[in-house]
C-alpha cells in the first residue's frame, strides 16, 4: 500500500492528519472544559478557579474551526497531488503495454474513475481514521487519569465502533458488491440493448420482451440495493447503541464508584463527543471495499506485461537507405492459431509493396509486428541486416511508422492534432502535409485552430483518415506504413482516399495495406495475405491473369468501375 502514496506527499499528508486530529481534539477539549466549567461552577468556587476553564472553552471553540479549515485545505491538496501522481504513473506504465482499445470505451473511462480511488483512500478513509484514532486515544488517556474503570469502558466502546464495526461493514460491503456488480452490469446491458437496439426491436416486434427483461434486471438490482441499505442501517444502529450505552455504562460506573459530579460530567460528555469522529468510520469501511477493488484493478493494469521485449543491449541504429527483410514471420495472439504463419517479404528503398486480403487475414498484425507493438514468435524482421528485436522499439518506430489502424483524434485544435507528428515543423511543412493528404480545402474552410472535439466528431471518416495521412507525411519516416481502413468509409470516399494514398507515396519506401484494388497497378509488388499466409504475389498484371482471391475481387470491383 505504501507504494500508492507518492514520496513527496508524506509531509503534506502528516500536516493534513495533524490538522484533522487537532480539530477533533479541540472539539473534545471544548466539551470537556465546558462540562468541567459548569459542574465546577455549581460547587461555587472562587471565580479564579474557573478562569483557566473559561479561557480553555474560548480557545478550543475558536481553534476547532481554524484547524478544520487547515485540514480541509491540506487534505484536498494531498488528494489532488495523489491523483495527479497516480495518473502519471499509470500512463507511464501503459506506454509499453499492448493495445487497450479492445477493452472498450467503458472500461477505459472506468480506469480514469479508478484513479480517483487513491484520493478517496486518503481523504475519506485514511485521514478520518487517523483523526479518530488520535481523538479516541486522547479521550481514553484523560479518562484513565479521572477513573481507570471508566477508561476501559470507553476503550471498549471505541474499539467496537471504530474497529469492529468498520471491519464488519467492509466485509459486508465486499459480499454485497460481489453480488451488486454483476446485477448492475446486467441492467446496464439490458438498458443499452433497449436503447441502441430500439429500431431492431420495433421492426421485429420484440419491444415487450426486451422491456420485461430490463425490468426484471432492475427488480433484481433493487432487491440487492435494499439488502445493502439494511446493512448500512444496521451499522448505523450499532453505532448509535455503542455510543449511547458506553456513556450510560460510564455514568453507571461513576455512580457505583462514588466518583464526584465534576469528573462524572466530564467523563460522560467527553465520551459522548469522542465517538463523533469514530462513528463515520463505519461508512468509511463500506467505501474501503470499492476503493481497494479500484486500486487492485490499477495494480493489475500497471503490471500488464510489456507488448514487446526490449533489448538489454540495443544494437546500433541502422542508417543510409533502408531495406526491410521479413522472413518466415510467425505472430500469435495468445493461444489461438498464428495470426501470421510464415510470412516473408522484402522492401527495398524506393519500392512500394501492397498487401491485400480479406479482413482477419493478418494484414494489420503484420503492420503491428513491423512497428514493434506486438512481438513475433519466430522468423526475422531485419532493417539493413539488423534484427528489429535488437533495437529499442521506439527506434524501430522512428524508422517505420505511418497511418495505423484506428488513428485517434485528440480533443485539441486541428493544428495541434497534426503537429503531434512534427512538433518542430514549420507552417510550410504543415501546409505541405495537409496538401499531400488533400485536406487543404477542408482545413482552409474549417480553420486550422478549430477544436476537433470529443472523438473527432467534427470529422467524417474520410477526413479522419486524411488527417492521419497528413500526420504520416509530416513525420516523414524512412519507411512509410499505411493501413487503409475500408470498413468506416463508403465506396466513393474510399476510392478517392486510395488514389490520394498512392499519389502521396510516389518514390517513398512504402508498405500499403488495402482492401481495394483500383490503382494498384502503380505499386511494385502485391502480396495476397489469406489466413496468415501469403498465397499469391506479383504485379497487378500478373495477379489479374491468375486464378485466385485477387482476380475474384478485381472482377467484382470491375463491375462498379468499368
Amino acid at each position: 500500500m505504501s507504494g500508492l502514496i507518492p514520496s513527496g506527499l508524506n509531509r503534506r499528508l502528516v500536516v493534513a492528519a495533524l490538522a484533522g486530529s487537532a480539530a477533533d481534539l479541540a472539539g473534545l477539549g471544548l466539551i470537556a472544559s465546558a462540562a468541567w466549567l459548569i459542574t465546577r461552577a455549581a460547587e461555587q468556587p472562587p471565580l479564579a478557579a474557573l478562569s483557566v476553564a473559561i479561557v480553555g472553552v474560548r480557545a478550543f471553540a475558536t481553534s476547532r474551526g481554524v484547524f478544520r479549515y487547515a485540514e480541509r485545505l491540506a487534505g484536498h491538496d494531498v488528494a489532488l497531488r495523489a491523483q495527479a501522481a497516480t495518473r502519471e504513473r499509470l500512463y507511464e506504465a501503459l506506454i509499453p503495454s499492448g493495445p487497450l482499445s479492445h477493452r472498450g470505451a467503458d472500461l477505459l473511462s472506468r480506469m480514469v474513475d479508478d484513479t480517483d480511488a487513491v484520493q478517496d483512500l486518503l481523504v475519506r478513509c485514511l485521514l478520518p481514521a487517523i483523526a479518530a484514532l488520535v481523538t479516541g486515544a486522547a479521550a481514553v488517556v484523560i479518562a484513565l487519569f479521572l477513573l481507570p474503570a471508566a477508561a476501559f469502558a470507553l476503550l471498549a466502546g471505541l474499539v467496537i465502533a471504530g474497529v469492529l464495526l468498520p471491519l464488519g461493514t467492509a466485509a459486508a460491503s465486499r459480499r454485497w458488491s460481489a453480488r451488486l456488480a454483476p446485477a448492475r452490469a446486467d441492467l446496464a446491458a439490458r438498458v443499452a440493448d433497449l436503447v441502441h437496439g430500439s429500431a431492431d426491436l420495433a421492426a421485429y416486434g420484440a419491444k415487450g420482451e426486451a422491456l420485461a427483461a430490463g425490468m426484471s434486471a432492475d427488480d433484481r438490482l433493487a432487491a440487492l440495493e435494499r439488502g445493502q441499505s439494511r446493512v448500512s442501517a444496521t451499522a448505523l444502529l450499532t453505532g448509535v447503541l455503542t455510543q449511547g450505552l458506553t456513556v450510560v455504562a460510564i455514568v453507571w460506573i461513576c455512580q457505583a464508584t462514588g466518583t464526584g459530579s465534576v469528573a462524572t460530567a466530564v467523563l460522560a460528555l467527553m465520551s459522548l463527543v469522542a465517538f463523533e469522529p469514530v462513528l463515520p468510520l463505519a461508512a468509511a469501511g463500506e467505501r474501503l471495499t470499492g476503493v481497494l477493488a479500484a486500486l487492485r484493478r490499477l495494480t493489475d493494469l500497471r503490471s500488464l506485461p510489456a507488448a514487446v521485449t526490449e533489448p538489454a543491449v540495443p544494437a546500433a541504429t541502422p542508417s543510409g537507405p533502408l531495406t526491410i527483410g521479413v522472413s518466415n514471420l510467425v505472430v500469435r495472439h495468445g493461444q489461438a492459431r498464428p495470426a501470421l504463419n510464415g510470412v516473408s517479404l522484402t522492401l527495398t528503398p524506393g519500392r512500394r509493396v501492397a498487401i491485400v486480403g480479406p479482413s482477419g487475414a493478418g494484414k494489420s498484425t503484420l503492420l503491428s509486428a513491423l512497428m514493434r507493438t506486438v512481438d513475433y514468435e519466430s522468423g526475422n524482421i531485419t532493417i539493413n541486416e539488423v534484427e528489429a528485436r535488437d533495437l529499442p522499439s521506439e527506434t524501430v518506430r522512428h524508422l517505420m511508422t505511418g497511418l495505423t489502424q484506428d488513428p485517434y483524434v485528440f480533443q485539441a485544435s486541428f493544428k495541434d492534432n497534426l503537429r503531434l507528428a512534427g512538433p518542430e515543423a514549420s507552417d510550410e511543412e504543415l501546409a505541405h502535409a495537409v496538401q499531400a493528404a488533400h485536406l487543404d480545402t477542408w482545413a482552409d474552410r474549417t480553420g486550422w485552430d478549430t477544436s476537433l472535439g470529443e472523438d473527432g466528431r467534427t470529422l467524417s471518416g474520410g477526413q479522419l483518415q486524411r488527417l492521419a495521412l497528413a500526420r504520416a507525411v509530416l513525420y516523414n519516416p524512412p519507411i512509410l506504413l499505411l493501413d487503409e481502413p475500408a470498413e468506416a468509409l463508403d465506396e466513393q470516399t474510399a476510392a478517392a482516399l486510395m488514389a490520394d494514398l498512392l499519389d502521396a507515396t510516389h518514390g517513398r519506401t512504402t508498405l500499403l495495406i488495402t482492401h481495394r484494388l483500383r490503382g494498384l497497378e502503380a505499386v511494385d509488388e502485391i502480396l495476397v495475405l489469406e489466413d496468415g499466409q501469403i498465397t499469391q504475389r506479383g504485379t497487378h498484371a500478373d495477379l489479374t491473369t491468375t486464378d485466385g482471391y485477387y482476380r475474384t475481387l478485381w472482377q467484382s470491383e470491375a463491375m462498379l468501375h468499368t
Binding site: A26, A34, I38, T39, A41, A42, Q44, P45, L47, V57, F60, R64, Y69, L80, A84, R87, E88, E92, L94, I95, L100, S101, G104, L108, D113, A188, V191, A192, G197, S198, D200, A202, Y204, L211, M215, D218, D219, A222, S229, S232, A233, L236, G244, W252, Q255, A256, A268, P358, S359, H398, T404, Y408, F410, Q411, L420, A421, P423, Y475, Y549, S556
Partner: protein, 544 residues
C-alpha cells in the same frame, strides 16, 4: 424540493423514513433531559434505564429510517427507469437521444440516492428539531435561548452568502476537474497514435503539467470556498462558548441550577447540528436534482402519434408514396421532399445515391419509424398512419445499416421477436452465410454475445442480422439497408445468392452501393438530396 419527484415517491416508505428521522431527532431532547438529570443528581441512578431505552429507541428509529430510505430510493429509481424505457420504446427509433438516455437510466439515476436517503430526511429534521430545541431552551433558560435564537440564523445566512459568492467559482473548478479527467482519458485513448509518432513519453510530462496547473488553480479557489465551512464551524462552536461561559458564571452566583445548566450545554449544539447536516448534504443532493430534472424533461416530451387500428389487406401489398415530405426536428432541410412512388407487389427495387441523400429515411418511412410531415404512405391502399404498426411490422423483414446485436445468445439474436425453433434458426443462419462461423463459436448458437456483439467482426454481425431476416420466411416485404456493406468479396457473393432467394415472391426495397446488389433488382431508383432523380428498369447486363 423537487415537485415532480415528490409526486412519484412511494408515500408509505417516505412517511416512515421522514417520521423516523424526526422522532429520532426529538428523542435527542429526551436523552439530554435524562442525562442532565442523572449527571446533576436530580434523577437517581435508576434513570439510566430509561436513558438506555431512549438510546435503543433512537437506534431502532435510525434503522427504520435507513431501511425505509433504501426502499424509497430503489422504488423511485425502478419507477423512473420503467417509465423512461417504456417512453423510449414509444418514441421513434429515428430520434437520437440514446447516449444520454443510457447514462441516465443506468448510473445517472443513482445520483438520486444521496438526495432521497440523505438530504430529504435531513431537511425534515432541520425543519423540526431546532424549533423543538429552542422551545425547550426558552422554557429552561431564557438567556441561553436568546443567544441560540440570535446565532442560529447565522448558519443558513452565512451558508447562503458564502455559497453564493463561491458557487460560480467552485462549479467552474469542478468542471475543470471533469475536463482534467477528460484530458487524461483522451491521452490514454490516443496512446497508440502517440506511440506511432514517438510522442508517448513526452505526453507524460504534459499530463503532469496540466494536473499541476489545475491543482494550483483549484487550491486558490478552495481557500475561499472552505471559508464557508470555517464560518459555520466557528458559529457553532463559538455559540457553545457563548452559552457555556455565562451559564458557568451564573451557576457561580447561584442564579441557575446544575441540572438546567447541563441540559442547556447538551441541547445547545443540537440546535445547530441539523442545519449543518443539511448543508453538508446539499451539494451531493443537487446532483440528484439534476438527474431528476433530466428524467422528467425526457418524460415530459411530446409523445409520438398513436398507432392506428387498421390492418392492410392480406397478401403481398403494393406500396404507394404520395407527395411525401419528411422533416427531422431541428434540421432545416427536409430529408425527403415531395416524393411520389409506386412499388408494385413483388417488385424488387434498388435505392442508390450518395450517403445522406434520404435512402435510409425512405426505409424508415415504410417501417413507420418516421411519419411524413406532408403527403401519405399507402400500404395496399390503406394509409400507414391508420395501420396497426406492430401488425404491419410483423409482415416486414428489415436489416438496418448498423444492426444491433443484443447481449443474449446468438440463437435469441436470430430468433428476435419470433418463436422460431432451433432448426429454423439453423436454416436461417445457413441461408445468411452465418452458420459456419456461429458453429465455430465456443458454444455455437448458445454463445452469449458481448455488449453490442463485441466479440464478432463487422461482417459477422451483418450476417447475424441477415439471418434475422431469413428467420421470417413469411415476411411479405423485405427492407435491406446496404446488407453487404461490411462484407468482403467472397462472403458478399454468398450473401447475394441468399438474398436473391429470400426476395423471391416478395416486395423488396434494397439500399445498395455495390453493383452486385443492384443486379438483384428489377428497378433502380436514384435518390439525390431527398428527391428521386432517376427511376428506371435495371438495364440488362448490369449497371454501368
Amino acid at each position: 424540493m423537487h415537485r415532480d419527484l415528490m409526486r412519484v415517491l412511494p408515500r408509505r416508505h417516505l412517511a416512515v423514513c421522514l417520521g423516523a428521522a424526526i422522532v429520532a431527532g426529538l428523542l435527542v431532547l429526551v436523552q439530554a433531559e435524562l442525562l442532565a438529570g442523572v449527571l446533576s443528581g436530580r434523577f437517581a441512578v435508576g434513570a439510566l434505564l430509561p436513558l438506555a431505552l431512549v438510546i435503543g429507541l433512537r437506534g431502532a428509529l435510525g434503522w427504520a429510517q435507513g431501511v425505509a430510505a433504501g426502499r424509497t430510493a430503489s422504488g423511485v429509481k425502478s419507477l423512473l427507469r420503467h417509465r423512461l424505457l417504456s417512453r423510449f420504446q414509444d418514441m421513434s427509433p429515428a430520434e437520437h437521444r440514446s447516449g444520454e438516455l443510457v447514462t441516465l437510466t443506468g448510473r445517472g439515476l443513482d445520483a438520486l440516492d444521496p438526495y432521497l436517503t440523505g438530504y430529504l430526511p435531513s431537511v425534515a429534521v432541520a425543519a423540526v428539531v431546532p424549533v423543538a430545541v429552542l422551545i425547550r431552551l426558552f422554557v429552561a433558560d431564557l438567556a441561553t435561548a436568546i443567544i441560540v435564537l440570535l446565532t442560529l440564523p447565522l448558519i443558513p445566512i452565512f451558508g447562503a452568502l458564502v455559497g453564493m459568492t463561491t458557487k460560480a467559482v467552485t462549479e467552474r473548478q469542478w468542471r475543470a476537474l471533469a475536463r482534467l479527467g477528460g484530458h487524461f482519458l483522451d491521452v490514454v485513448r490516443g496512446l497508440p497514435t502517440l506511440r506511432a509518432f514517438g510522442r508517448a513519453r513526452y505526453q507524460a510530462s504534459v499530463i503532469r503539467d496540466v494536473a499541476d496547473q489545475h491543482r494550483s488553480a483549484t487550491m486558490r479557489t478552495l481557500r475561499v470556498a472552505f471559508l464557508s465551512s470555517l464560518v459555520l464551524e466557528l458559529v457553532a462552536s463559538l455559540s457553545l462558548a457563548l452559552v457555556a461561559v455565562p451559564v458557568g458564571l451564573r451557576l457561580l452566583s447561584g442564579s441557575l441550577d446544575l441540572s438546567t445548566a447541563l441540559l442547556v450545554l447538551l441541547l445547545a449544539p443540537e440546535a445547530y447540528l441539523p442545519l449543518r447536516a443539511m448543508g453538508t448534504r446539499f451539494h451531493a443532493a443537487m446532483e440528484g436534482v439534476t438527474a431528476a430534472d433530466q428524467a422528467f424533461a425526457l418524460l415530459g416530451e411530446e409523445r409520438a402519434g398513436e398507432s392506428g387500428r387498421l390492418t392492410a389487406p392480406e397478401g403481398v401489398p403494393e406500396i404507394r408514396l404520395e407527395s411525401v415530405t419528411v422533416r427531422y426536428p431541428g434540421r432545416e432541410d427536409a430529408a425527403l421532399t415531395d416524393v411520389s412512388l409506386v412499388i408494385e407487389a413483388g417488385e424488387r427495387v434498388a435505392l442508390v445515391g450518395p450517403s445522406g441523400a434520404g435512402k435510409s429515411t425512405l426505409l424508415h418511412l415504410l417501417l413507420g419509424f418516421v411519419t411524413p410531415s406532408s403527403g401519405r404512405v399507402l400500404v395496399g391502399g390503406v394509409d400507414l398512419a391508420d395501420l396497426d404498426l406492430d401488425a404491419w411490422r410483423r409482415r416486414l423483414a428489415f436489416v438496418p445499416q448498423r444492426p444491433h446485436l443484443f447481449a443474449t445468445s446468438v440463437a435469441d439474436n436470430i430468433r428476435l421477436g419470433s418463436a422460431a425453433s432451433s432448426d429454423e434458426i439453423r436454416t436461417a443462419s445457413a441461408a445468411a452465410q452465418a452458420a459456419e462461423f456461429v458453429e465455430s463459436l465456443p458454444e455455437g448458437y448458445d454463445t452469449v454475445l458481448g455488449e453490442r456483439g463485441a466479440n464478432l467482426s463487422a461482417g459477422q454481425r451483418q450476417r447475424v442480422a441477415l439471418a434475422r431476416a431469413f428467420c421470417r420466411p413469411d415476411a411479405e416485404v423485405l427492407l435491406l439497408d446496404e446488407p453487404t456493406a461490411r462484407l468482403d468479396g467472397r462472403s458478399e457473393s454468398a450473401v447475394l445468392d441468399s438474398t436473391r432467394h429470400l426476395a423471391e415472391g416478395r416486395t423488396a426495397v434494397i439500399v445498395a452501393h455495390r453493383p452486385a446488389m443492384i443486379d438483384l433488382a428489377d428497378r433502380v431508383i436514384r435518390i439525390t438530396d431527398g428527391a428521386i432523380t432517376e427511376d428506371h428498369a435495371r438495364p440488362v447486363g448490369g449497371l454501368r
